[in-house]
Symmetry: D2
Subunit: 328 residues, 4 copies
Amino acid sequence: MLKIAVIGAGRIGRIHAHNIAAHAGATVAGIVDPDTAAAERLAAECAAPVISLDQAFAAEAVLIGSPTPTHADYIERAAAAGQAVFCEKPIHLSAERVRTCLETVRRAGIPLMIGFNRRFDPSFKAVRDRMAAGEIGKPELVLISSRDPGPPPIAYVKVSGGLFRDMTIHDFDMARYLVGDIVEVQAFGGNLVDPAIRDAGDIDTAMVTMRAANGAMVHINNSRRCAYGYDQRIEAFGEHGMLQAGNRMATTVEASGGKQTGAKDVVLNFFIQRYQEAYAAEVEHFVACVREKAPPIAGFAEGLEALRLADAALESLRTGQIVRVHKG
Amino acid sequence: MLKIAVIGAGRIGRIHAHNIAAHAGATVAGIVDPDTAAAERLAAECAAPVISLDQAFAAEAVLIGSPTPTHADYIERAAAAGQAVFCEKPIHLSAERVRTCLETVRRAGIPLMIGFNRRFDPSFKAVRDRMAAGEIGKPELVLISSRDPGPPPIAYVKVSGGLFRDMTIHDFDMARYLVGDIVEVQAFGGNLVDPAIRDAGDIDTAMVTMRAANGAMVHINNSRRCAYGYDQRIEAFGEHGMLQAGNRMATTVEASGGKQTGAKDVVLNFFIQRYQEAYAAEVEHFVACVREKAPPIAGFAEGLEALRLADAALESLRTGQIVRVHKG
Amino acid sequence: MLKIAVIGAGRIGRIHAHNIAAHAGATVAGIVDPDTAAAERLAAECAAPVISLDQAFAAEAVLIGSPTPTHADYIERAAAAGQAVFCEKPIHLSAERVRTCLETVRRAGIPLMIGFNRRFDPSFKAVRDRMAAGEIGKPELVLISSRDPGPPPIAYVKVSGGLFRDMTIHDFDMARYLVGDIVEVQAFGGNLVDPAIRDAGDIDTAMVTMRAANGAMVHINNSRRCAYGYDQRIEAFGEHGMLQAGNRMATTVEASGGKQTGAKDVVLNFFIQRYQEAYAAEVEHFVACVREKAPPIAGFAEGLEALRLADAALESLRTGQIVRVHKG
Amino acid sequence: MLKIAVIGAGRIGRIHAHNIAAHAGATVAGIVDPDTAAAERLAAECAAPVISLDQAFAAEAVLIGSPTPTHADYIERAAAAGQAVFCEKPIHLSAERVRTCLETVRRAGIPLMIGFNRRFDPSFKAVRDRMAAGEIGKPELVLISSRDPGPPPIAYVKVSGGLFRDMTIHDFDMARYLVGDIVEVQAFGGNLVDPAIRDAGDIDTAMVTMRAANGAMVHINNSRRCAYGYDQRIEAFGEHGMLQAGNRMATTVEASGGKQTGAKDVVLNFFIQRYQEAYAAEVEHFVACVREKAPPIAGFAEGLEALRLADAALESLRTGQIVRVHKG
């Protein structure tokens, strides 16, 4: 049994703690959260104790689900303790800080996994696996549509690092998951959803185009608001055909009436529902990697590279030019 | 050029006349209709003369699109004249009369095709052809859904021969098209759409179950009213899988919004639109059969057998029992 | 916390035990199974003790997931103990035995729920709820397709009570769930899948037609073998439109290539996967009903009525006639 | 009857001539083509004479379906003759030449329609009309996927003006059709299909991103080769939802078997099939505009603006920068 301390009893910490508790080969070593009520509630649900940060860093492994600014520091504490780490994305909003953190992790040689949950979505994973098996031949065009049901609070927007680092970061990683390293990034941004987001210095709508080292072109589109739910789709086109992965609905019901036919439910809303299976698979992968001393498919490098693409997109937005990306 | 006289300038006569006029290997020999205005208009559209019945029966071939009670008589006149005949279904509402007519046709040896247009629908034909090619193995379950957008006028209901002979007749033929001869028929009927139809002595909703000689079971469902258009679908299930053919819409547009996703158009309404390609293919097949002296895929026997299934369904409705059908 | 003893550590007992263990308001009082290894394994997974039958009937509630022949006896023991009971379908293969059991249950006044899991499938439930809300108006045509991926072992077939009581029983209940009481039943059966099933005295393929008291007609089709998985679909058609609920696949991936487009995964196989959410919802409903002293939506009457429809279908198969059904 | 001379008896001339011949309010004044055999065959099919160029420019209206380099000259001859003109796209590969031609047309005041057939596709037109009716609110993200089944001959590539002017030109016009004037263009290009296309100085794969004056962002992706047919889709996303228009297949058949479910036909291949209804609607619109002296929805300005976007995309490809576009 891998004993994993969970830092953070918020939305994402809760998901992970429950998945650890339900895992046959893992157990929750304890819950840490400055909000003691939240910590106690989650601890009770997982039949685990509330513990201190010091105790967390004494466990076999640690899952970091606390706010972003703490991630790099906590990773370094875990590195010092020689723990296996599962850290939510992003590692830090500053690529510089991520790099110093990476140095520490490398020296310590600890296993570290970044929470790029979408890599574990059964549909997206199937697209990747079928691409890897050659089903569409060499990939040429990849389209990623990623639209949130509604914008986060402005207070969050202000500390989020911006759309590219906060939201598109998943799509940057998805692009790398599907076609590997990226060499060129070009970005369009706009404020079409809420003027308050512009006032907070961020964009709410974007299109990004990228070129992969293997020649494939990637398009990403984002919106901070989507009337029909949490829209998460990918399309990969290559010499021999196309693979598409679409949305999930609560039911398979289709309605036909006097005005239309085949109308389906709105899509699952929000990430907790959409990526429920992905979150469970993610914990399973982490436990397996630790047990088998295997590198996770989303490690530190993935966290760094996705952040560098976000930074490249920001630079492109500022300059109107294609930004060349050289490997990390 | 096959010169085909067209008897009947109503809705169905018009379709056929236009398809003949557009056919590279056929031409409209003339139009006959007691409604001279209709005959003249259609004749003008097809660059053909208005002709008399006698002239029609002197042409190379004749297309009979006049009211049902005239069909058998006109077929016999064509037989006497040695003409090739394309006759709209049904041949006659009385199986007895159909049989005497068949005798005449057989003695005359004329080519005769019955207007079972659905056999020429590209989707239904593809299902049949793929079944014939073995794609689903031996067929086991066949489902035919056939629902009209709205009931015909009561005056028509009264002379129609009833739902089974007027509407289900197409589905009986479709069953035979897909799985061959039928040996057992069982029918449920009801009046769920319009009490006036019951008052006229007919049903407006039905489910029919049949067993084919090859063992396959067939389900048909009918309604005289369908809120979302002219619903025409088939599903064939066998050892190796399933083939389904669905409806056509005016566009491929799918709409997603706050209440639903992927909502499509209502289905094409009515048979003129839905079976537009089938009507053209039907005329093409007729011309090809006459030219190549080949038997049409929907000949006199198909007309007779479909009628016998309708009669069996009526008997089942009356007795509550399965009716055995022996080949015509 | 409702303490529920689980009788049976087989496939279905395991599902229920895990769902009880995961339920915030319930706990597994203990596991009973003559196969002690199975009982111990499941008990360990649920952090519950292995208990005796006597202990099981001393718990607050009991879940009966043992073989069918034991169901009625165990229900009566639970009735004597005044326990709440969740019993897997069917109660017994003999309607007579079911009736005597029902008497005992009524006298004891215990809450009893029958495991008609499909009533809890989110998609089927949504169809029912939307019908109840009037979305399609008065229901007129209902189609239920229910096909197993492959036939059970012949040994099971021999004691199963036959296709209608073992497999179609779910569809009979689904029909009642959607359109209420049934008044007429007509059945076609055949042996198209495996001659060994015929040799065992059973059919493997069927079509059943029924009329509901409200006038709606219902079609059911069954096969004991389905190449593309566990096919479970319903279609409800009424004055204002149609609601359809379809299959679930492991992923949403659609593949397009040189020979076809939009090819999806095979459907989830088998009931454990397909009805995973339904099983959890079922336990949730049971716990809620016991807590709130409310009648379950699938009680003893539902078990009896479904069995009576199965018996009517068997009689129709024997006589070739429509069988009238009068309420229980 | 509008008498329209048809210049060009090639693939596109044939479509238009047949649609004119089938039109109730128009007739083919004659066919011109240096390939006299082709001209004679088409003339016979349309019951029209073979005529000279001089005779063509003496007709009421002229349809120019000859090779691109002749378009501007022929338009000017038609302008001198005061004829109504339907000219296939593009007007000319040089924006400069297009502008001088436009001057001539403006001075002459003749009605001129450009063959942007996709504006007449029922599905694309429905998306536009429903957007115009406010169904999705202000448009924010538009995705246009446009992939040819296979590359044209290299000889054609060399004189085509390049991918953007030859193929993407339709997508540039579609973007303007959906969201109006474009103010920014950014392009990625590559050679992923055939090295011979690169050797001919052209690209075969592209992604273009644009910003419209109304703020909407538009993505276009192109490939000169598509394994599953002629892929032509659009997606428009706005505040209130999304409208998508997809491909058409020859049938509605869906196949399910041991490896997959719901597999559809490959998509219609090629533009003659895919845009069959659009071509007919286009001729209808032209005849109606001439008759009612109304401006066509695809006039000279549309031809010019699409070409300017193609030129902007080429410039962006060269510079790696966003190119600002000011109205023509």
